[in-house]
C-alpha cells in the first residue's frame, strides 16, 4: 500500500498535464463529431453472383442455388468465356461459381459409410465440385464466405446423415441462424468514421499521458539516491518493483477506461461487435504505451528532458501515423516509415474497422494481424527494457 499510496500522491502532482491531454481528446476528438449529423443506416450490400450450374437442378444442388439466390444478386450472363471475362472486368459480377456435374453425387456419397476418396472432394481446398472466379474485392469476399459456409455445413451433415432431405433440412436450419445475423447488422457509417477519428486521436492522449506520467513518476522512484533507500529498506526489492509496475499499469488502465467512457458519452452507440474491437485494440495499445514509457524511463533519468521526449515520441508518432489527419492524406513514404511505430498498427486497425461491413474470417484477419503486431511490439519493448536494465546494472 505504501508504494501505491505514494504513487498516487506523486501522480496527483501531475494531474494537470493528464487533464490537458484529456481535454484535447474531448475537444479535437469530440468536436469532429458535431460536424456531420445525417445518420445513414446501412445494410451490407449483396454481391453480384453468376451461377453456372452443370449439375441437375434438383435436391441439394437446388437448395444450394436457392440459398445463394436469397443472399446475393443473381446475374444472368451468357455462358461464354468472353462475356464472363468482360463481366468480371467491368465488375458486373463479383463472383462466378461453376457447379460441377458431380456436385450432388459427391456430397451425398460423402456419408459415413462411403468411400474415403469421396470425403476428400468436399473438404479439400482444391475442390472438384465447384470452381470459382472472383474479382477479389470485398463483395466477392462476402460471396465466398456464403459459399464456404454452405459447403462446410454440407460436409458436416453429409457425414452424419444418410438422407438427402434430412441433410438439407439441417443445413437450412443452421444457415438461417448464422447468415442472417451476419449480413443484417446495420452500420451507421457516419458514426463509425467519427468513432474511428475519436479512437485515432485517443492514441495520442494515451501515449502522451502514459509516457509523461510514467516517466516522471519512475524518475522519482528510481532516482539514484531514493532507489538506494528503497534497496536498503526491509521491503523485498522484487516485490517493490512489482508493486510499482502494477501501480503504473493501473494508472494506464484507469486512463484508458475514462477515455472509453468519454467515447461512449461523446459518440453514442455503434454495434457491439465494432465497439468490442475498438476497445480491445485500444487496450492493447494502452499496454503497449506502458511498455514504451518503461523503456524510455530506463533510458533517461532527467526530469527536464521528459517533456521534450513526450513531444517527440507521442506527438511525432501520432502525426506520422495519422492520428490527427486521415492516413490517406499522408504521403506514401511517411506511411512506410510509420510501419516501425506501434501507433501505425493501432490506427490501421481503426481505419480497417471503419470499412468493415461484415465480420468474417476475411475481414477479421488483417485486424487480428495488426493486433498481433502490437503485441509483438509489447514483447519487444519488454525485452529491450530488460536488456537496458541489465546493461545499466553491469555499469
Amino acid at each position: 500500500m505504501t508504494v501505491f499510496k505514494t504513487f498516487s500522491q506523486v501522480l496527483n502532482k501531475y494531474k494537470a498535464t493528464v487533464l490537458m491531454y484529456t481535454v484535447m481528446l474531448v475537444l479535437f476528438g469530440g468536436l469532429n463529431f458535431k460536424t456531420s449529423d445525417n445518420n445513414v443506416n446501412f445494410t451490407a450490400s449483396k454481391p453480384d453472383v453468376l451461377i453456372i450450374n452443370e449439375d441437375e437442378n434438383i435436391g441439394i444442388t437446388k437448395d444450394f442455388i436457392d440459398y445463394l439466390s436469397e443472399y446475393t444478386n443473381i446475374k444472368d450472363i451468357e455462358n461464354n468465356e468472353d462475356s464472363i471475362n468482360d463481366a468480371l472486368f467491368y465488375r458486373d459480377v463479383n463472383y462466378i461459381i461453376y457447379i460441377k456435374p458431380n456436385f450432388r453425387e459427391s456430397i451425398l456419397s460423402n456419408s459415413p459409410n462411403k468411400d474415403e476418396q469421396f470425403k476428400q472432394l468436399i473438404s479439400s481446398s482444391d475442390r472438384t465440385i465447384v470452381e470459382i472466379k472472383t474479382t477479389g474485392d470485398y463483395q466477392a469476399s462476402i460471396a465466398d464466405m456464403l459459399v464456404n459456409k454452405y459447403l462446410h455445413l454440407a460436409d458436416i451433415y453429409s457425414n452424419t446423415f444418410e438422407d438427402e432431405n434430412e441433410i438439407i433440412n439441417h443445413i437450412q436450419k443452421t444457415l438461417s441462424l448464422e447468415v442472417e445475423t451476419e449480413l443484417t447488422s446495420k452500420v451507421d457509417t457516419n458514426t463509425l468514421s467519427q468513432v474511428t477519428f475519436y479512437y485515432n486521436f485517443l492514441s495520442y492522449s494515451v501515449l502522451a499521458g502514459c509516457v509523461y506520467v510514467i516517466c516522471l513518476i519512475l524518475s522519482s522512484f528510481k532516482n539514484k539516491e531514493i532507489n538506494k533507500r528503497t534497496i536498503i529498506s526491509s521491503m523485498n526489492y522484487k516485490s517493490f518493483n512489482l508493486k510499482l509496475l502494477l501501480s503504473n499499469c493501473l494508472f494506464a488502465i484507469v486512463l484508458w477506461l475514462i477515455y472509453i467512457i468519454l467515447g461512449f458519452l461523446l459518440v453514442g452507440s455503434i454495434p457491439t461487435n465494432y465497439l468490442i474491437i475498438y476497445i480491445i485494440n485500444s487496450f492493447i495499445f494502452t499496454i503497449c504505451s506502458v511498455t514504451i514509457a518503461f523503456f524510455i524511463s530506463n533510458l533517461i533519468n532527467n526530469k527536464n528532458a521528459i517533456n521534450g521526449i513526450v513531444n517527440v515520441v507521442a506527438l511525432g508518432s501520432s502525426f506520422l501515423c495519422g492520428a490527427f489527419v486521415p492516413m490517406e492524406w499522408l504521403p506514401d513514404f511517411v506511411l512506410k516509415i510509420a510501419h516501425v511505430l506501434p501507433s501505425y498498427w493501432y490506427i490501421k486497425t481503426n481505419e480497417l474497422l471503419k470499412g468493415v461491413e461484415v465480420f468474417n474470417s476475411i475481414t477479421l484477419k488483417p485486424i487480428i494481424t495488426n493486433m498481433l503486431v502490437l503485441i509483438v511490439f509489447i514483447i519487444a519493448f519488454v525485452v529491450l527494457t530488460n536488456i537496458v536494465t541489465k546493461l545499466k546494472l553491469k555499469k
Binding site: M1, T2, T6, V10, E225, S233, S234, M235, N236, Y237
Partner: protein, 312 residues
C-alpha cells in the same frame, strides 16, 4: 559489550583503484563510532559495502550476529541509513516523505504515525510538516533527509556526512538529535571530515586515509598519538629574531614560528609551559595583546600521521 557490526578485511576496488583497502573494525552496542577521513578516503564506499549496495572483492560483514546479504531483510529492518546526498521526493511534503520511507519498514498505520511524529520532533521540523522540499532551506532539507532515514526506529544507524553544507543552527540540532538517538538505544556510525563534530559526538573514532585505517581509539587516545600536547598562540606587535631563537630552545618546545604579529608555539609533553613562557616574556619586556593555550585537535593528529591537513 555486544558487537553489533563487524567488518573483517574488507577490500573494494573500482577497476584497479583500491577505494577500501583491507578494512577491519567492530562497533559495540550503544556507541557512536566516528569514521573520520578526508574527501575520497573511502568512507561512503565502506558504508555502501556494509549495506550490500556495492559488491566488494573480499571481506566479511556481520550485523547483529548474522552475515549481511542483499536479501537479508531481517537485518535490514533494523538498520537506518542517512546518505550523503539528500534523497527525498520533491513531489511530496515533509510528512508524506517520511511516511513513505517509514512505510517501507512499518506496515501498521498507527505505529507509523507515532514514529513519524517522533522523527519530526527529533529533527525539529514541527513547523514545516506541510512544506515541500523546494521550500526548505539547505539545513532543514538535511534534517528531513535524516528524519526519512531514522523514522522507523532502527537499532543501527549510518549517517554519512549529514552536516555537510549546513548552517550552525541546523548542525547543532542534528548533533543533538543524533545524541538522542543514541540515548534511545541506537548504535551509530557517523562519517565526517569535521573533526570538531567527532570530538563532541563520538565515543570512538576511526581515522581513514586512502581506504586504510591509520588510527583508532577515543579522542583522547588518538591525541596521545600526536607528539604535540599543547599549542600556545601569542599576539605580539613585533618580535626580535633573537628572542624567537631563544624560545625555540625552551624545554618541551617542538616548534615556534612568528608570522604577521602572531607567535605560535607547539609543545611536546610537559607542565607549566604557558606560565614559564609568560615569565620569560615579562623578563625580556615583550608586550603582548592576547595569549592563549589550546589542546591539540584531531586535525593535528591527522597532520602528524599523514603529513597533510584533514581538510583542504
Amino acid at each position: 559489550m555486544k558487537t553489533i557490526l563487524s567488518v573483517e578485511n574488507l577490500i573494494k576496488k573500482y577497476k584497479n583503484f583500491k577505494a577500501v583497502d583491507d578494512l577491519s573494525f567492530d562497533v559495540k552496542k550503544g556507541e557512536i563510532l566516528g569514521l573520520l577521513g578526508p574527501n575520497g578516503s573511502g568512507k561512503s564506499t565502506t558504508i555502501n559495502c556494509i549495506l550490500s549496495l556495492l559488491k566488494f572483492e573480499s571481506g566479511k560483514i556481520t550485523i547483529f550476529g548474522c552475515e549481511m546479504r542483499p536479501d537479508a531483510y531481517d537485518i535490514k529492518k533494523d538498520i537506518g541509513v542517512v546518505f550523503q546526498e539528500v534523497a527525498v521526493f520533491e513531489e511530496l511534503n515533509v510528512i508524506d516523505n517520511i511516511d513513505y520511507f517509514c512505510g517501507l519498514y512499518i506496515k501498521d498505520k498507527e505505529y507509523r504515525k507515532k514514529c513519524i511524529d517522533d522523527a519530526i520532533k527529533l529533527v525539529g521540523l514541527e513547523d514545516f510538516k506541510k512544506f515541500y522540499p523546494k521550500q526548505l532551506s539547505g539545513g532543514l532539507l538535511r534534517r528531513l533527509n535524516i528524519a526519512c532515514g531514522i523514522a522507523h526506529k532502527p537499532k543501527l544507524v549510518f549517517l554519512d556526512e549529514p552536516t555537510v553544507a549546513v548552517d550552525p543552527q541546523s548542525r547543532n540540532n542534528i548533533l543533538d538529535g543524533i545524541k538522542k538517538l543514541r540515548d534511545n538505544g541506537a548504535t551509530i556510525i557517523y562519517t565526517t571530515h569535521y573533526m570538531e563534530e567527532v570530538e563532541i559526538l563520538c565515543d570512538r573514532v576511526i581515522i581513514i586515509d586512502k581506504g586504510k585505517i591509520i588510527a583508532s581509539g577515543t579522542g583522547d587516545e588518538l591525541k596521545e598519538l600526536s607528539k604535540i600536547e599543547e599549542k600556545v598562540t601569542v599576539e605580539i606587535d613585533s618580535l626580535d629574531e633573537k628572542i624567537l631563537e631563544e624560545i625555540k630552545q625552551f624545554k618541551n618546545v617542538d616548534e615556534a614560528t612568528y608570522n604577521n604579529g602572531i607567535l605560535f608555539i607547539t609543545y611536546k609533553k610537559g607542565k607549566n609551559n604557558l606560565s614559564s613562557l609568560i615569565d620569560y616574556l615579562k623578563k625580556v619586556d615583550v608586550h603582548y595583546d592576547k595569549i592563549y593555550s589550546e589542546r591539540p585537535t584531531l586535525n593535528d593528529v591527522f597532520l602528524y600521521l599523514t603529513g597533510k591537513e584533514l581538510r583542504d
